[in-house]
């Protein structure tokens, strides 16, 4: 019997085997916990084994209750505009960064990573301290109008765009790893200028990456609780995550209402992913050929105007919120201002001293993030391969599941994890991970996979099917094809995906705040507590220490990998020709 089953398994295609393994993993990791939350909307007693259907009348409440209706409209407004502007910013900066020689290229990379890993509440707090009536803008820079601008729906869209543009920036940057300059040469020979070549040749080929980034910006904005909640108080601008949070703050708690609102978030998410797939199917983007080169830059002279644009952007998007946090971390009394007598290092001494809670929490969070990032990178790479190169019958489902955790607030995901991992069935089998630090690794993976997979999909979308098919025809096994063809061609995206997963896991507040086990300090929970208790000096000092360590690790890894695989990251200059090595993409 066993032998027969084993033979049947061996008869399956390698793609199918990988597909089944990834589907099962995603089922346990994301679909089951989220499904239990969503099921609350229709089967409120499901956890107690009561499968009585409560009907669908609750779904109509969205259009009856004023708060819910307004929340839905606000969420759609915020996500749509942020997706447009965030993608515009991210894609433009990525093209500037990789197409032209500019000063501040490293600053642009660091800014993107910093914005990606920073928790929303720190960004929000920085903007609040900058913009309030007695804040830096009004008091020091003589710009009182900043208050009205920031605390408005338009201001919220702008700040959300500054926060979430890195999704588009990293996706497009990763996709620009390879370049086939013959396309540009053909366009130029036909009389097209540099701008027309960019708009009609380069940009359309980057469309999968741009759309990937756009979907991520849209969905992450849709599910973000912290930033809108912190900034929207002045004009009462509730979004769906905020309303879900209020449904879970009632006694007795209304998981059914949270489930209904989550269903709507899922519907919006699926519509966004469906639109993305439809747009991709309309054209082919697998433009890489054997003549592809790694990297490409127009000219060698520094472009001053674009350098100014890049540095000005970094100064606003990162400089304002983090600069404000930096100032606060050196101030003794907040209400005394930034005066010499009010400067202190006491916050840093306190958080860095031996045995401090921050040191313990940072160590724990880095360990968890490393494991979550490694595992989610592996899963995402295989899932992205399936979605791009295979006809596996569950591809559509994998695509949606891989994105769904981004659209729901972390607290909801955390509740789903408790439902699933604390269920008496698993508990009695000795499989309950809830209450153990390992649950945070799983939660970190669930949060990181959507980011990693979108970055990888953008890069894989450029690779023709024939590359992998030709190798398969020659009898090359799937693991070897993945390691010797797909991985080198998407190495930049692979690196970005891994580091983004790592950075976001370190600071993931929402899910860790509800899942953290007893006696186990984790970084975002420690920082958030300091912040809520009003210890702004300690919370900002802790954030900056943790961010510096995390960004340092990210940069060091990037340098190490780029150094180790120099050939794959070699940047070439278009004119005049330099001694460039053509990277040969081997057709098997």
């Amino acid at each position: 019997m066993m032998v027969r089953r084993f033979r049947r398994m061996r008869a399956l295609k390698p793609d199918t085997l990988v597909g089944i393994a990834i589907s099962l993993l995603l089922l346990i990791l994301v679909a089951a916990p989220m499904g239990l939350v969503l099921a609350q909307a229709f089967f409120p007693g499901i956890l107690q084994g009561d499968l009585a259907f409560s009907g669908i009348s609750q779904l109509q409440e969205l259009f009856q209750r004023r708060l819910w209706r307004v929340s839905l409209m606000n969420s759609l407004y915020l996500s749509s505009y942020t997706a447009i502007f965030g993608t515009l910013i991210g894609a433009s900066l990525a093209i500037i960064r990789h197409q032209y020689p500019i000063k501040g290229a490293t600053a642009l990379d660091l800014c993107a990573w910093a914005m990606l890993i920073m928790p929303s509440f720190i960004i929000a707090q920085g903007w609040i301290l900058f913009s309030i009536r007695d804040g830096i803008a009004a008091q020091w820079l003589g710009m009182p109008w900043v208050y009205d601008w920031v605390f408005s729906p338009q201001g919220l869209v702008a700040i959300m765009s500054f926060k979430n543009y890195p999704f588009a920036y990293l996706a497009v940057s990763a996709a620009m790893q390879w370049h086939v300059k013959e396309y540009q040469h053909a366009a130029r020979l036909c009389g097209a200028g540099p701008m027309r070549t960019l708009l009609t040749v380069r940009l359309p080929l980057l469309l999968p990456a741009i759309l990937s980034g756009m979907v991520l910006v849209f969905i992450d904005t849709l599910g973000d609780f912290g930033l809108p909640a912190a900034l929207a108080t002045t004009y009462r601008f509730p979004t769906l995550p905020y309303t879900i949070f209020t449904a879970m703050n009632q006694s007795p708690i209304r998981f059914d209402l949270a489930g209904v609102l989550s269903v709507y978030l899922m519907v919006i998410l699926m519509a966004a992913v469906a639109l993305y797939l439809w747009l991709l199917k309309r054209s082919r983007f697998d433009f890489l050929t054997a003549k592809a080169e790694a990297g490409f830059r127009s000219g060698r002279r520094v472009n001053k105007a674009l350098s100014f644009v890049a540095l000005a952007f970094v100064a606003i998007a990162l400089g304002i919120p983090m600069g404000t946090s930096l100032m606060v971390s050196f101030i003794d009394q907040m209400n005394t201002g930034f005066t010499p007598g009010n400067l202190t290092l006491v916050h840093y001494q306190s958080v860095l001293q031996s045995g401090s809670l921050l040191r313990e929490a940072l160590g724990n969070s880095l360990q968890i993030a490393l494991m979550a990032a490694t595992a989610s990178l592996l899963v995402s790479f295989l899932a992205a391969y399936l979605l791009t190169f295979s006809q596996f019958y569950l591809n559509g489902l994998i695509n949606v599941i891989c994105t769904m955790t981004l659209a729901v607030p972390g607290v909801i995901l955390g509740v789903g994890f408790i439902f699933f991992w604390n269920h008496p069935l698993l508990f009695n089998l000795g499989l309950s991970l809830y209450g153990h630090p390992f649950i945070l690794v799983l939660a970190g993976m669930a949060g990181a996979i959507p980011i990693a997979i979108r970055v990888l999909l953008g890069a894989m979308g450029q690779i023709p099917q024939s590359f992998m098919a030709a190798a398969a025809l020659q009898g090359v096994s799937l693991p070897r094809r993945l390691v010797t063809i797909l991985l080198p061609l998407t190495l930049a995206a692979f690196l970005s995906a891994g580091l983004a997963s790592f950075g976001s896991s370190v600071f993931d507040l929402a899910v860790t705040s509800i899942l953290h086990p007893p006696g186990y300090a984790v970084l975002p929970v420690v920082i958030d507590r300091m912040f809520l208790q009003g210890y702004y000096g300690l919370s900002t000092a802790s954030t900056l220490v943790a961010a510096t360590v995390t960004l340092g690790l990210i940069q060091a890894t990037q340098l190490a990998v780029r150094n180790l695989f120099k050939q794959l990251f070699q940047v070439h200059s278009a004119e005049p020709p330099v001694n460039s090595l053509n990277i040969e993409v081997r057709h098997a």
Binding site: L370, F427, P518
Partner: protein, 326 residues
Amino acid sequence: MKTVTALCALLLGNAAMASSLVLYTNDFEDIIGDRFTADTGHEIEVIQMSGGNLLARIAAEANNPRWDVLLFDGVGSLYSMDQQGMFMRNLAPENEQYLTEQGRSLVPESRAWMPAGTTASCVLVYRTDLVSEPPATFADLTSSAFKGVIGQADPAVAAPAYPCVASLHYDMGMDAARQLYSGILDNDLRVFRTNGPTRRALSAGEISVAMLSSPNAYSMIQSGEPVEVVWPEAGAPSSSRGVAVQASTDKTDAAQAFVNWMLSPATQQFLTENGGADGLFLSPVEGVNPLSYGPPAEAVYRVAPAAWAAEHEAAIKSWFADQAVN
């Protein structure tokens, strides 16, 4: 791969001690554990979370609770959890003998929790440098003089903010309270997520009057900020903290020891002196000296009955949230 395996092993080694008593709380997390162990010999693990997350975690664990004792601010929620059978009833700690009259009035009929302290969930706090004619009552907040400069925590999110709104509804009656709040909301009331951001907005001069919890209000005065507190003569809407034991805990002795320990005058004095802003509470037991810069001794606290607060919670929160939307 070896590194990851080693990290897994390290992480697994960090697993929490399953034999310890597990406390869920939204206050005093930094000081409570060591002191309890030193006083009683029982090991304890403390999990601190905001009120909302705490309720969500407890509700999500309902099938398989992982907590043994709960210290929570809000009798309405405590009552509701008791009604769902989550608490061990008929608690009779020895130290109950020390309860004051106010403390005894807060013991529920089911004796499912014991009072652990009371704070005003909202008092009027104004900036002395920005307000020339301060408000004397909540009704004064409808005056056009305060248009756009009043702030309050969101009762749908902040644990102490619902008792504030509930208490006003209980004292004034539903219709009169809704009329009052409609007036304040029409005066462009700024609804912040919790008391922390409300305090920060008042501190920054973004608003000049706030309906703020008493620990936040008096710690602002203590830190030298230019604010004054108006404590309503008839009493301030208040919130009571309670300590409860999980119904199916297998650590009954240690859990009951914790409840008894919380009612000891020495513990109450310790929490008062070492709890920072959390220490600014009215103790339910006799013989506790409050912090000198806290509320006056004659201050009156008005806590809406737990059953009433629980019964009207959904209606009041929904009404407030729908009205607060632009």
